[in-house]
């Protein structure tokens, strides 16, 4: 066996230029695949964070009727609940929200707006909107008739920090809820719906306007891992949720779960295509490499090598070549990955999926699974590509092959 390897190795280096060329070509294919996988993993991670953790939370609580009716008086009125949830060990963050819609604007223009009443410190822990401010600051901890507008809406209404806006709506007690608010900040949250037509205000201010004192519409809870939502749910239910509807993010938004699945699938297809093309390249290269040596192999047979050994030799060479390619590919790929992880790729205006705009700079993520998932299959493709030509070479009659086919 060792003999075989030694001979194979020497064979490769006898034709050093050809071997290096082949290995480099395949190495580039390997590197491309490594970079693609890192990019795709990075994208998936960014999606999961923005679409799930920051928008949906991992576990959601609502009044049992609210999800289907969306009527404003179907609220959660257990004021101590969120504190009990925050105290749970597996909970990294929890936020309570009250939703309303109103006509929002100044004397010149108004438009329909979505209002989200929040407790600032809780919301920011889950979704760091304060890092996405375009102007001004975020809401103060205490209710002070302040509002933070989505960037698109501020632009549409030509408003900026310091301006006053009026909100008018129908309160749940039949009166006309209205309030004068001061714009303290403008934010580019990345959530399309909010940026175009949303505003954040202190939950107590909104409760006053809507006449829903002490009530909220939803509580979002996060843990360390979005995929562990089921166990987080079990823990949250232990905080005495009563007859509230408690769901994982996958249950609450099957479209997002499906979307993530589809992302996964389409990224897998993308990788498969890259792999496919890379494999074609590798196959192509190996086939060439073996076919061109038909003569040489014929000579070996003439000198007494058994067909089986010929096959073994060729396959060993292919394996060594494959290893070499993987090493070269890993080095080049490593460099590409390093760039992707530190600098990332800039997608210009940012990508939008399911109502969320992602940071235009996607950073790569390198995982063991990713790297192994590239190197191992490509290595095997190298070896497999050599099988047929090896068998063919083994079957040749020496004289013919020495004449060159």
């Amino acid at each position: 066996m060792k003999f075989l390897v030694a001979v194979a190795w020497r064979n490769l280096w006898r034709q050093s230029r050809r071997s290096l060329l082949t290995a480099s070509a395949m190495g580039i294919a390997v590197a491309m695949c490594l970079a693609s996988v890192a990019l795709v993993d990075g994208m998936y991670g960014a999606f999961a964070d923005a679409l799930v953790t920051q928008s949906l939370g991992h576990v959601q609580l609502h009044n049992g009727e609210y999800p289907s009716t969306k009527q404003p008086w179907h609220t959660i009125d257990d004021e101590g609940l969120i504190e009990r949830i925050e105290a749970l060990p597996g909970v990294t963050g929890a936020t309570d929200r009250l939703y309303g819609q109103a006509l929002l604007g100044d004397e010149n223009d108004s438009t329909g707006a979505i209002l989200v009443g929040i407790t600032p410190r809780r919301e920011l822990a889950l979704s760091p909107l304060d890092e996405r401010l375009v102007e001004g600051r975020f809401l103060a901890d205490e209710a002070a008739q302040e509002v933070v507008l989505g960037k698109g809406m501020a632009e549409d209404l030509e408003l900026s920090v310091g301006d006053s806006v009026v909100i008018i709506t129908q309160a749940t007690d039949g009166s006309l809820g209205n309030e004068l608010l001061e714009i303290v900040g403008i934010v580019s949250s990345g959530r399309t719906a909010m940026d175009r037509g949303g505003a954040w205000m202190h939950v107590e201010d909104l409760q006053d306007v809507l006449a829903l004192y002490g009530q909220v519409h939803e509580i979002l809870v996060t843990g360390p891992d979005p995929d562990a939502s089921a166990s987080l749910l079990a823990e949250v239910e232990g905080a005495e949720t009563g007859d509230l509807l408690v769901r994982t993010w996958q249950e609450a938004s099957p479209q997002t779960a499906q979307m993530m699945g589809m992302q996964d699938a389409s990224m897998a297809i993308f990788i498969a295509i890259i792999f496919g093309v890379a494999s074609l390249g590798v196959l192509n290269t190996m086939l060439m490499a073996v076919f061109e040596r038909t003569r040489e192999l014929g000579l070996m047979k003439a000198l007494g090598m058994t067909p089986l050994r010929v096959v073994a030799l060729v396959l060993t060479e292919a394996a060594l070549l494959g290893l070499l390619s993987c090493v070269l590919g890993a080095i080049l790929g490593g460099l590409l990955d390093w760039y992707l992880v530190t600098e990332g790729l800039d997608f210009g205006d940012g990508l939008e999926q399911m109502g969320v705009t992602f940071d235009p700079i996607i950073k790569g993520e390198v995982t063991l699974k990713g790297v192994v998932g590239v190197l191992v299959p490509l290595f095997f493709i190298c070896v497999l590509a050599a099988v047929w030509p090896a068998i063919r070479a083994a079957r040749l009659r020496p004289v013919e092959s020495m004449r060159g086919l």
């Binding site: 008086w73 009026v166 909100i167 008018i168 129908q170 309160a171 749940t172 007690d173 039949g174 009166s175 006309l176 209205n178 309030e179 004068l180 006053d208 006449a211």
Partner: protein, 237 residues
């Protein structure tokens, strides 16, 4: 014979008009200033509001909420054919178009039209006296059908007035003939020198456990009120 019959008929008509005007104007005069409380109870909420109301003639009407503090200063103004709501906290006026006169006022069972008395029974309806005290029940019952171009949403209205000429109830029916709501006049007292019901109770037919109750605290009739009281500028102060 004919002549006597006719003159009797027209005398009756004038009587009916008088009774209808009485119903419409039971809480009005040449002018008036009143303090009222409105309680609204629906399946989903209960609300109580105190307000002050001014009226001058049939064309000018102003209602301003005084309590609770959250709604203080919210006002409804009618001048001629135009009606506005005013929100003081945000300094905004909201025009109420004619098409919405039949709509709820401030989430109660009372309509915009009820509040400002835009329509008048004697003018916007054709009426028939169906019952008189002589018929046995010591009351007048008048049935009214809206005239074709009248700005009202009802199909039929039935007014019941006591023999003492104090309104007892008004029932409102839709175009299909179904009862939509009843307005009951209760707690007759002497207020502002007039004997009148101090409580107006509106009950929707499809939800009898809900109601809106308007109670008059006090009224002064025929007070001197300048026209300028009834203006948006006056409100904004």
């Amino acid at each position: 014979m004919m002549l006597i019959w006719l003159s009797v008929a027209s005398a009756d008509d004038a009587e009916i008009v008088r009774l209808l005007n009485l119903t419409d104007d039971i809480a009005r005069g040449e002018s008036s200033v009143a303090t009222l409380t409105m309680e609204v109870k629906t399946a989903r909420y209960e609300r109580s509001v105190t307000m002050k109301a001014w009226s001058k003639g049939t064309d000018r009407s102003l209602v301003v909420i005084e309590e609770p503090a959250k709604e203080k200063g919210v006002a409804t103004l009618k001048v001629g054919d135009d009606m506005w709501n005013y929100l003081p906290k945000v300094d905004r006026t909201m025009k109420v178009p004619a098409a919405m006169m039949g709509g709820s006022w401030m989430g109660s069972h009372v309509t915009n039209d009820d509040l400002v008395k835009g329509s008048r029974l004697s003018e916007d309806y054709t009426f028939t006296l169906v019952e008189q005290p002589q018929d046995g029940d010591a009351r007048y019952v008048i049935e009214l059908v809206p005239k074709p171009d009248a700005p009202v949403v009802w199909g039929k209205v039935q007014v019941v007035i006591s023999e003492a000429e104090i309104p007892v109830s008004t029932e409102f029916y839709d175009e299909g003939g179904d009862l939509v709501r009843s307005m009951l006049y209760q707690d007759v007292k002497t207020i502002g020198g007039r004997e009148m019901p101090s409580t107006f109770l509106v009950v929707p037919a499809d939800a009898p456990e809900e109601y809106t109750k308007i109670s008059y605290g006090d009224i002064q009739f025929d007070v001197d009120l300048p026209d300028s009281t009834f203006s948006l500028q006056a409100l904004k102060q």
